[in-house]
C-alpha cells in the first residue's frame, strides 16, 4: 500500500479528479489494470500520466472551436486512411501502431512528444518540433508525404497530441512510464524458423500468411506487417528491438504480454527479414545508403543484410510501394544557420 502511494505522490500530472483522494484511486486502478495485464508497475522515479479521453474533452472547459479541431485530430489519427493517396500510401492508420488511440503505455503513447519537443533527435541529427516528429511517422511508417507544416490537418493532429499531454509540465525530468515500445531483454539466439512457426500460429489468422493483413472495402481491419502495404525501411519499427517491444506489449490483439520474450524476439526477427518499400533516404545503392544511415539508425535493422534463408539482400530494390516518389520534401537537414 505504502509503495503504491509513492507512485501517485511522484506522478504529479494527475489532475482529472476533483479531489486528491479520488485521483489516488484512479491512478491506482490504472496501474492495477496494467499490472494485471502483465505490464511492469512504474518505478519509483517514473512519471505516470493518464491521458484524457475524448469523453473528457466534451466536458473540458476549452473553446468549442478548439474542441472541434482536437476531434478532427483524433479522427485523422484513428482513420488516417482518409488521407490515402495524398499523405498515406500504405494500409496504416496512426493507431495501427499507437494502440488505444495513441493513449496506451507500452504502445508508444504519443503525448510525450508534446512535452519533450522541440529537442535534438539522433535519427535526423537536428532539433525537431512536434510537427516534424509527426511528419517523421508520415514519411516512414505511413510510407507517405506529411501534410504541410502549419496546414489544417497538421495543426489538428498536433492539437490532439497536445490535448493528450494535458497537465504534464514541459520538459519533464523524470523518465516517462511506458514510453515507446520497451523491448524485453534480447535472448542469446534468435531463430528465423522458430519465428516463422510462431508467426503462423499466433499472428497469421489476422495478418495473413504473408503478412499482408486484411482490408474490407476501403478500411484496414488488420494492417500489413510487411510488403508493399506496410511501413517502409526507414520506419522505427524495422529495428528488431522495437518490433520485439511492440509485439511483446501489444500482440496478439487483446492478449498483451502473452508471448514469451523468446517468441516475441523470434517473430520480430522473422518479420524484420521480409521486404518492404524502400527507405526514403535511399541514395540509389543499398550499401551506400546503409553506410550513411547505419550509425544513426540501421545498425538495429536487417537493412542491407543478406537473409540467412536465401541470401536475398534486404532493401536492394527500387520499389517504393504505392507511393509514386521516393523522398518527400520534408526529409531535409536543418542547420539553424
Amino acid at each position: 500500500m505504502i509503495r503504491t502511494f509513492s507512485y501517485v505522490a511522484l506522478s504529479g500530472t494527475l489532475l482529472f479528479s476533483a479531489t486528491a483522494a479520488a485521483t489516488d484511486d484512479t491512478t491506482q486502478q490504472y496501474i492495477n489494470t496494467l499490472t494485471e495485464l502483465g505490464y511492469p508497475a512504474p518505478k519509483a522515479n517514473e512519471l505516470v500520466h493518464i491521458p484524457p479521453t475524448m469523453e473528457d474533452l466534451e466536458n473540458a472547459s476549452l473553446h468549442p472551436e478548439l474542441k472541434r479541431v482536437i476531434r478532427r485530430g483524433y479522427d485523422l489519427f484513428t482513420n488516417t486512411q482518409q488521407l490515402r493517396g495524398e499523405n498515406v500510401f500504405n494500409n496504416m492508420n496512426c493507431s495501427s501502431c499507437h494502440m488505444g488511440e495513441g493513449r496506451m503505455p507500452f504502445s508508444a503513447p504519443v503525448w510525450p512528444a508534446a512535452v519533450t519537443l522541440p529537442n535534438y533527435r539522433g535519427k535526423n541529427d537536428h532539433v525537431n518540433n512536434l510537427e516534424e516528429r509527426i511528419a517523421g511517422c508520415f514519411t516512414y511508417s505511413m510510407n507517405g508525404k506529411p501534410p504541410e507544416y502549419g496546414s489544417d490537418n497538421m495543426l489538428a493532429l498536433s492539437a490532439y497530441h497536445q490535448w493528450l499531454a494535458k497537465g504534464v509540465a514541459m520538459y519533464p525530468e523524470k523518465p516517462i512510464y511506458g514510453r515507446g515500445f520497451p523491448a524485453p531483454d534480447r535472448p542469446a539466439k534468435l531463430s528465423y524458423a522458430r519465428g516463422e512457426a510462431a508467426f503462423d500460429e499466433n499472428c497469421s489468422v489476422c495478418h495473413g500468411n504473408d503478412g499482408e493483413g486484411l482490408r474490407v472495402g476501403n478500411h484496414t481491419v488488420f494492417p500489413a506487417i510487411w510488403g508493399d502495404m506496410s511501413n517502409n525501411w526507414g520506419a522505427g519499427i524495422v529495428r528488431v528491438f522495437t518490433a520485439a517491444g511492440f509485439i511483446k506489449n501489444n500482440m496478439p490483439l487483446g492478449q498483451p504480454n502473452s508471448l514469451s520474450d523468446q517468441e516475441a524476439w523470434d517473430i520480430a526477427y522473422y518479420m524484420s527479414n521480409q521486404e518492404r518499400p524502400q527507405d526514403p533516404r535511399y541514395t540509389g545503392d543499398v550499401k551506400d545508403t546503409l553506410e550513411k544511415t547505419q550509425e544513426r539508425f540501421h545498425k538495429h535493422s536487417m537493412y542491407g543484410q543478406a537473409r540467412e534463408t536465401d541470401g536475398h539482400v534486404l532493401g536492394d530494390h527500387n520499389n517504393t510501394g504505392e507511393k509514386p516518389f521516393l523522398k518527400p520534401d520534408s526529409v531535409r537537414p536543418r542547420t539553424f544557420e
Binding site: 490504472y30 489494470t33 495485464l37 475524448m54 494502440m99 488505444g100 488511440e101 493513449r103 496506451m104 499466433n202 489468422v205 489476422c206 500468411n209 504473408d210 486484411l214 474490407v216 472495402g217 478500411h219 481491419v221 488488420f222 496478439p252 490483439l253 487483446g254 492478449q255 498483451p256
Partner: protein, 213 residues
C-alpha cells in the same frame, strides 16, 4: 516467390478439410434447412426471446463461419442442447449446403434493443467502435470489421444480431462454456467485460444494420 507455395497450401487445406466434397449447393441446403425453421425461421431471421434462449439470425452470415460452427457443435467443441439433435442430422456435405443456403439469404433486422435507454446505447456504441482501453476491452470492430459487419471467414458479422443471443454468447465466453474461438481471441475480451457492458453492447449491436445495403 514466397506467395506461391502459401497459396497452394491454402487451397490444399480447403480441399482436404471436408467442406468441399462436392460444391456447396444452396438449393440442396434449403431442403436440409426445413428442420431448422422451427427456430431459425423460414427467412433465417431467428428470434429474440427475452428471458429465454434466443435463436440467432443465420441469414447473411458468412458461409465458412456457419459451417465452422456446425462442425464445432458436432465435434463437441461448442455445445448446445438445442442444436445437438439437429446438427447430428447433417453430414459434411449437408453442412456445406445449409451454410451456403443461409449465407445467401438477405440479412434481417436484429431485435432486443427496443427497451434500451440512450445512455446504454451510447456506452454500447463506444465499446463497439472504440473499445474501453482503461480495461483493455479492444473495440469490437477491430476484429469484427467495419461497422461490425464481419471480416473474412474467422470474424463473423455481429451487427444486426439479436441482443439476447449476443448477450448469452458473451456470458458463455466469460463463464468458459463457449471456447471454440481461434486462440481465445473472443474469450480474452469477454472476460474483461462487466455485465452492464455486455448488455449495452448487445443492445447497440442489435440496433445496427447487418449489411452495408
Amino acid at each position: 516467390m514466397k506467395k506461391l507455395p502459401i497459396l497452394l497450401t491454402a487451397l490444399g487445406l480447403a480441399a482436404c478439410s471436408g467442406f468441399a466434397l462436392a460444391e456447396a449447393d444452396a438449393t440442396r441446403g434449403a431442403a436440409s434447412a426445413a428442420v431448422c425453421m422451427a427456430c431459425h425461421q423460414a427467412d433465417g431471421s431467428g428470434m429474440n426471446i427475452p428471458g429465454g434462449e434466443s435463436w440467432p439470425r443465420l441469414a447473411g452470415l458468412d458461409a465458412a463461419y456457419i459451417s465452422k460452427q456446425l462442425h464445432d457443435y458436432k465435434s463437441g467443441k461448442r455445445s448446445s442442447a438445442s442444436m445437438m439433435p439437429f446438427v447430428n442430422m447433417l453430414d459434411d456435405q449437408k453442412i456445406a449446403d445449409v451454410a451456403a443456403y443461409y449465407a445467401g439469404l438477405p440479412a434481417t433486422k436484429g431485435k432486443g434493443s427496443e427497451s434500451a435507454n440512450e445512455a446504454t446505447l451510447k456506452r454500447g456504441q463506444q465499446l463497439a467502435e472504440r473499445g474501453d482501453w482503461s480495461r483493455y476491452v479492444v473495440s469490437c470492430k477491430s476484429c469484427h470489421g467495419p461497422d461490425n459487419q464481419g471480416a473474412g471467414a474467422v470474424f463473423p458479422g455481429i451487427a444486426g444480431q439479436h441482443a439476447g443471443y449476443i448477450k448469452t454468447q458473451l456470458q458463455a465466453w466469460k463463464a468458459g462454456t463457449r471456447k471454440n474461438d481461434t486462440q481465445d481471441l473472443m474469450g480474452s475480451i469477454a472476460r474483461r467485460m462487466s455485465d452492464d457492458d455486455i448488455n449495452a453492447v448487445a443492445a447497440w449491436l442489435a440496433s445496427q444494420s447487418a449489411s452495408a445495403n
